[in-house]
């Protein structure tokens, strides 16, 4: 049986890659994918701990996260499409309307 720590290390690596990509990448779609990566890293830890403690609640959390992620993907992609239609770009550095 694979020790739980392995899953956690993998999850941490995935999460860090997600954070790094989120900070570095300029394309909205890529940023969006990196968010998914972070979410799934967290899912992995949930499942790993659920398995470790023989508790089903961790698994249920994962379903919740997936549902929310799916909803988020729908809303996020819609936003991305409407941004592209108006701005003709997906570079986040050019999308800074909230600057004070």
């Amino acid at each position: 049986m694979v020790p739980t720590a392995y899953y956690l290390v993998l999850a941490a690596m995935l999460f860090s890659i997600g954070v790094a990509a989120f900070l570095i990448k300029r394309n909205v779609i890529t940023i969006f994918i990196s968010i998914e990566l972070m979410l799934n890293a967290v899912n992995l830890t949930f499942v790993a701990f659920a398995h470790m403690w023989h508790q089903v609640s961790g698994q249920i959390f994962v379903f919740f996260v997936m549902v929310v992620a799916a909803a988020e993907a729908a809303v996020g992609l819609a936003i991305i499409i409407s941004i592209f239609r108006t701005r003709q770009t997906l570079n986040v550095d050019e999308i800074d309307l909230m600057k004070s």
Binding site: F22, D96, S100
Partner: protein
């Protein structure tokens, strides 16, 4: 008639207040007739209630006082002040003066102000004045009295500055207000001392406590309280050193001068001293100060009044001088005599001001006596009524002023204190001066050749030239003239075969001053009669001098003035008091406020701290604003940084905390 229930006391001041509210809020839209009806109605009703109150209190077997209290106004542990009114015989007299003379002057004002702008404003103020003045005289505690005291000061300010477009009127209003503030400061300090020593501000409690402690005779704190109250009284009643506002107050409309600055408000100081007689009786020093202030003010103001040319200013200085007499009366312990003079003064001085207003009206706003003369036949009703006032104030028997003034002088002379003999002499000289300046006014206004120019009549309003006032103005004059003539008969002394009813009437109030009356009784009537004869002689001498100078041989006075240039200049310029105040008090104060308070405190500290606070807020804002770049990646970076920081605190923070 049924006895008046005590609850009706509330209505006495509240009715004029209702009139003020109506005229003050709706008056601008109401027609003039409606404004007049409201103002007169809400003044007449309290006068009616006061008449009923008189009947109740004078009924056989009626108690000497009546009081009513509301729920507590201020209530903290060990200290309570109620909204409470109390009526005794002193209050009755004041109520009669305020509502009676006040109502007459309201009637007069309807005629006098008929062509003025701001008609509704004027009557709203007058009704407000009645409200505050009635609160002042009805009050059962120092604090409620102070409410009325401040209120009448406010209305006085508003009415002096009634023609506020005129700079001099606005300045005069401010001057009156500032002078009164100085006096109010003393009154406030006196109240603080009273709270500290008695734990109460209610008249009955404070005076009862004083009565229970005979060992407090001349005690230092009583003297301090009394002197501070005197400071308050000098401000309100225009005595030295705070008298200078009253002559300037003549900038207000003439009915205001009559009502507020002659008959009622300025007597509030005398009323207050009389009301606090239990306190003053215990402090011979304070009483002597009151007497000295009164005598000094009387002669000082009378001397200035002798050389004024403005008819209203002569009357103003005369008012200051007569108020000095009342102070003198209170100061020698003859409170009843002081109040008696207050009563007669309200009649004849109110009359004189109203008559002067009628003269001014007749001459289309001419106030300078050098431009009058020969008006005797032109405005006969004004002449005859004003003559009653002039003879009354000059002390010619049997008119009102003779009895009251003589009573004060006699009480001063009969007092055992040798200092008061000197004050009596000053008072006697002042009586002569009073007679002189009043007859000077009389001769210059009504006799001799007319010195006004009828050609003034070209400008429309004065098309009729000199004209008698309408009857709505003359009616109050006639009533007041009758009162000025016979009003003194309530106080005919025993020496002249009278009973001095007013003194006995006030006995329940001034009962502790009984020692005074016994001292008088032992001296017999011979002295009193000779003193009376002396003061009549002095008054006649004043008349004769004025007769020679201003009727028989006009020009003597001018020649005298040119020969004694220095003296005349000194008096003419009012002893340079205004200049003294300006140069030695106002200018240094201004320098201090502008130089120190303005530059150092205001610009430096106040503005400086504001500027510093603003600049630091801007700096902080600049720093945080840098973060709001609109760049999503920078937000994300800060988010990650924050999450990492929280994580770090959660993991390592506890360890660090434990080690600390």
């Amino acid at each position: 008639m049924n006895a008046m229930p005590a609850t009706y006391l509330w209505y006495i001041p509240l009715l004029p207040f209702a009139g003020f509210l109506i005229n003050g809020t709706l008056g601008r839209k109401l027609p003039r007739a409606a404004v007049s009806v409201v103002a007169l109605l809400f003044t007449a009703l309290p006068a009616g209630i006061v008449a009923w109150l008189w009947a109740t209190m004078l009924a056989p077997g009626a108690p000497n006082s009546m009081s009513i209290a509301s729920y507590p106004w201020i209530q903290i542990t060990g200290f309570t002040v109620n909204f409470a009114f109390a009526v005794d015989h002193l209050t009755l007299i004041m109520l009669g003066v305020v509502t009676g003379v006040g109502f007459l002057i309201h009637i007069y004002s309807v005629g006098y102000m008929a062509h003025e702008e701001g008609y509704w404003r004027f009557f709203a103020y007058l009704n407000l004045f009645m409200f505050f003045m009635l609160v002042l005289v009805l009050a059962d505690s120092f604090l409620l009295l102070f409410v009325g005291w401040e209120g009448v000061g406010l209305v006085s300010y508003l009415l002096i500055g009634f023609y506020f477009r005129k700079t001099s009127a606005a300045n005069a209003g401010r001057k009156a207000f500032v002078f009164n503030r100085i006096g109010d400061f003393g009154f406030l300090l006196a109240m603080f001392l009273l709270i500290a020593h008695f734990g109460s501000l209610t008249f009955s409690q404070v005076f009862a406590t004083i009565g229970q402690h005979p060992e407090w005779q001349g005690a230092g704190f009583l003297t301090a309280i009394a002197l501070l109250l005197v400071l308050g009284a000098t401000g309100k009643s225009a005595q030295i050193p705070l008298y200078a506002w009253l002559p300037d107050a003549m900038e207000g409309p003439t009915p205001v001068s009559a009502l507020i600055h002659a008959a009622t408000m300025v007597t509030a100081g005398i009323y207050m001293v009389a009301r606090c007689h239990a306190l003053f009786d215990r402090s011979p020093v304070a009483l002597a100060v009151v007497a000295c202030i009164g005598a000094a003010t009387a002669i000082f103001a009378a001397s200035i009044g002798m050389v004024q040319h403005d008819i209203k200013r002569v009357l103003a200085y005369s008012t200051v001088s007569q108020l000095g007499y009342m102070f003198l009366g209170c100061g020698v312990g003859a409170y009843a005599a002081g109040i008696f003079h207050l009563l007669t003064h309200a009649f004849f001085k109110g009359l004189l001001f109203l008559a002067a207003g009628s003269v001014i009206h007749a001459l289309s706003n001419e106030q300078d006596m050098r431009n009058m003369g020969g008006l005797r036949t032109r405005i006969p009703v004004t002449f005859w009524t004003m003559s009653a006032g002039v003879f009354a104030i000059a002390g010619i028997p049997p008119l009102a002023g003779f009895f009251s003034k003589d009573e004060i002088l006699y009480q001063a002379f009969a007092s055992p204190n040798p200092l008061f003999k000197l004050l009596w002499f000053i008072g006697l000289v002042t009586a002569g001066m009073t007679s002189f300046y009043m007859f000077r006014l009389w001769f210059k206004t009504f006799f001799g050749e007319p010195r006004f120019e009828e050609s003034h009549s070209a400008d429309g309003h004065t098309a009729h030239g000199v004209h008698e006032s309408p009857w709505i103005m003359l009616f109050p004059l006639v009533v007041l003239a009758i009162l000025a003539a016979i009003g003194g008969w309530v106080g005919i002394p025993a020496a002249l075969g009278g009973h001095n009813q007013i003194e006995h009437f006030l006995d329940p109030v001034f009962a502790s001053g009984a020692s005074q009356t016994t001292a008088v009784a032992t001296t017999g009537h011979g002295l009193e009669l000779s003193l009376t004869a002396l003061s009549v002689l002095v008054a006649l001498a004043g008349f004769y001098v004025a007769y020679v100078c201003y009727y028989k041989k006009p020009g003597i006075a001018a020649a005298f003035a040119t020969r004694n240039q220095a003296l005349y200049g000194l008096v003419k310029n009012k002893y340079w008091i205004d200049e003294f105040n300006g140069n030695f008090i106002v200018t240094p104060l201004l320098l201090f406020t502008r130089g120190f308070l303005g530059v150092v405190v205001d610009s430096g500290v106040v503005n400086g701290s504001g500027a510093t606070a603003g600049a630091s807020a801007r700096g902080l804002a600049w720093l945080t604003r840098k973060q709001i770049s609109g760049n999503i990646r920078s937000y994300a970076g800060w988010l990650a940084f924050g999450a990492a920081a929280v994580l770090a605190v959660m993991i390592f923070g506890r360890a660090v905390w434990v080690h600390l």
